[in-house]
Assembly symmetry: none
Homo-oligomer: 189 residues x 4
Amino acid sequence: MRKLSDAGLRVFAERGYHAARVDDIVRSARTSHGTFYLYFANKEDLLRALAVECADSLFELADALGEIEGEFGYEELRAFLAEFLGIYRSYGVVIRAWMEDQVPDRDVARTGVKAYTAIAKRLAVRLEESGSVQPVDAATSVSALMAMLERFNYAVSSRGLGAHDDETLDTVARLVGQGFFGIGVSRPA
Amino acid sequence: MRKLSDAGLRVFAERGYHAARVDDIVRSARTSHGTFYLYFANKEDLLRALAVECADSLFELADALGEIEGEFGYEELRAFLAEFLGIYRSYGVVIRAWMEDQVPDRDVARTGVKAYTAIAKRLAVRLEESGSVQPVDAATSVSALMAMLERFNYAVSSRGLGAHDDETLDTVARLVGQGFFGIGVSRPA
Amino acid sequence: MRKLSDAGLRVFAERGYHAARVDDIVRSARTSHGTFYLYFANKEDLLRALAVECADSLFELADALGEIEGEFGYEELRAFLAEFLGIYRSYGVVIRAWMEDQVPDRDVARTGVKAYTAIAKRLAVRLEESGSVQPVDAATSVSALMAMLERFNYAVSSRGLGAHDDETLDTVARLVGQGFFGIGVSRPA
Amino acid sequence: MRKLSDAGLRVFAERGYHAARVDDIVRSARTSHGTFYLYFANKEDLLRALAVECADSLFELADALGEIEGEFGYEELRAFLAEFLGIYRSYGVVIRAWMEDQVPDRDVARTGVKAYTAIAKRLAVRLEESGSVQPVDAATSVSALMAMLERFNYAVSSRGLGAHDDETLDTVARLVGQGFFGIGVSRPA
DNA sequence: CATGAATGAGTGTTCATTCAT
DNA sequence: AATGAATGAACACTCATTCAT
């Protein structure tokens, strides 16, 4: 039930997965404990469901990345980043929960890693095609890229800096392009 | 008491702060519940104590950064990174706990941010002096740098990749130097 | 919930407030720990609730005292005493707990004192109206009266002397009438 | 050790027997936990020791009551009351602890009751000798007398009314004399 | 004699989960 | 389908008591 998933996302984001009480979620969704357990086996199951939702979004993003025709330059990179950061904005808690060992469920972690890998691969392909990539080491640098995006995005959103405005997006895009892939991007005037 | 702090670090790292049971910590320290509460007011107090320890290490690192004479090039950057990643290796959980909203104590969070800021400032100064810096935007890029180091380091250590060997250190150093500060570093032969 | 209040009264009476275990209360009420904390914030809150119940009974008694028409002689005094001792029989522990400094909650103590004062005032009025009162000192003697009733009643009930039979009631009534208020009461033949 | 007994009396009086912590007593006596258990088997043993002290004082009072030559009138009653209330001031907690079922030790309770009975007997004898006694019922009224003194004294001391001044003593003396024993005492001018 | 760090059984409290309605 | 009162296992924390120094 959407009401509950949304409430879960809200409460997890506010308090963190472990500190979140089923009671908080249920109250936030204006429903009852009974209903919660009608749709989810338990609290962890809600996290799993949210993780799947998140993974789906990431897979979609990966597909979109593969379907772009023509050159993959600064604008495209920037558009991708905006997309990715948006997903992170919604599912940050879930991503962090599965990345860290807060949840014992191995399947959730695996799904997450798979989604991440899908994106990483597509991105690597795209950038290589564009001919401007000179990654220090593919695996390491893509990992570092994702890491930075995740953590940076968290910092930005938690500092209450609000939406990712153009300035921020540009900075990140240039950092990623120049630093990780050697795209000497000066923002097109 | 050292035994307990160490055990806390171990257990927090294994299970995460919230999932960690006082009983686990006590058992890991081969001591009793009573002893735990002799030295710490409660579980959160242990986190606070560890956070202070961590912050001290970071402040020391900041000072060391300020006292380096002469040029601040690749080797110095690499040494700094090794140092920083080492601290993160020990205090990762604590850093993440205070960075995320897992702990209600505002003082802990403030101390952590202060320590981070101290490092960030010194680093910015050092790199500017070295003349090779062309940061996209100082505040943003240093923030991103710290973010990346944190998250990347976490990824590396949690994947069980073990110690930070030379290869990894070099990759990171080059990424940081080239990407964030425009230092065109090719590893000195 | 009545089951829990009653069980609380029972267990507090048996073991005293401090020695009483929530587990005892819960078992005596044939319910669970969870249910206890569903209705009461904590052990002290149960005492508070019982104190309010007790205070209500005392206020009712005070009102009844004010509504008696006609003379207030031996029979009326005796009836009042029977009523008061009955309340004490049920809520003895609570009264003692709030009279002594066993409970940190100042509000509970204040409510109790207020209820006592209400009774004392009405009683003083009634007896003065009856014209036979020559109290040594109003404040002191009413205080002493209540004190005696409380403590005496406790002694009687804890010695297992069972219900307050006619003999006991008569003795107390005569003591109070003669000693405190100078009513030369010879038991009506 | 006197230091510890005194500290025990202080702390028991402040917090009540159950709420009193051995740590409080030890700190109040400026000594250590080890020393406490050198002189007392456990917390209850300290209460026992204090109860014996208290009983001794009461037995002494009983003896003094028996050794008074000549008449036992208002002044003698008043002197006795002052003595009794003084003992209660010091040992109130202990008396209450043994009177109520707060302590499982049956011996303590028995000693206390014995001491009380000793006083009650002597007092009854003295008053009967004085020829002015017409107790309603010996057993009941003496019990009520002790009860009242105890409880009243508590009320007086806990209300912060300070020492038992002449006024209070006179009021109590007249109440007891007139009410319990029919001594028509008007304070000697 | 004196100490106080260490102990662990015991207690209050929480919260995910169930089930009769 | 929906409810929410009831449950009890699990956890944080306390404090009387011990014992090596």
